[in-house]
Subunit: 135 residues, 2 copies
Amino acid sequence: MSDDFILDTRLAGDTFPIKGLGLSAVRLMDDARWPWLVLVPQRAGIGELFELPPLDQTSLTYEIAAVSAALKRLTACTKINVGALGNVVRQLHVHVVARNEGDPAWPGPVWGVGTARRYDDEARRALIAALRDAL
Amino acid sequence: MSDDFILDTRLAGDTFPIKGLGLSAVRLMDDARWPWLVLVPQRAGIGELFELPPLDQTSLTYEIAAVSAALKRLTACTKINVGALGNVVRQLHVHVVARNEGDPAWPGPVWGVGTARRYDDEARRALIAALRDAL
């Protein structure tokens, strides 16, 4: 972890911490419409995947794969969506979202769709606990 | 390249070939609203990033980074968007899109927005030539 890495305030406000991996913090998007995780590489000043050093790119790839596979196992979803957009929040972050036919945005992307539906405390704690076990 | 890899017919119909890299075919999405590339790993039967063998995951990551950096240099865009969704076309493919403030979907994602605006032949050939040079 870079000493000078600080999580973007908007990311911090929209998500809850799940687990730290070697490079990335894994966080839960507070939107119960989809099981939606965000990986944030703990590196300061990075906005694009290609700005990471090659070894970090490889680490991030394996972390994305591990998180995606765990989310797929846990949710038995139809498809995993992975995206690094950053048009609004420029700090590099990678979305990993479990998608199912008939979900509120299917088959379109989840980003920018409608309004987040916040988890209630109990449901959020249970999901975070299950995700920690799965990771 | 796997002997039994066949490009999905919808991807083939929506894109034009630009260049083959070690693992992926790089193709141009036929939508002049955004400079939009698609990388298709030449592996049969793969739908999710985490289904690729680890070495292929690393190769794909480096190819995404190289293509993203080239697209950024060529277009001087504000932000690169990278996404692997596959809700419609299940064959693994990775979108790399050049985004700018005020573009037709900014700051939302490009997928599923409106109707593609096809390139005219001359503009398409010029862009493909420039992309081949940049890659």
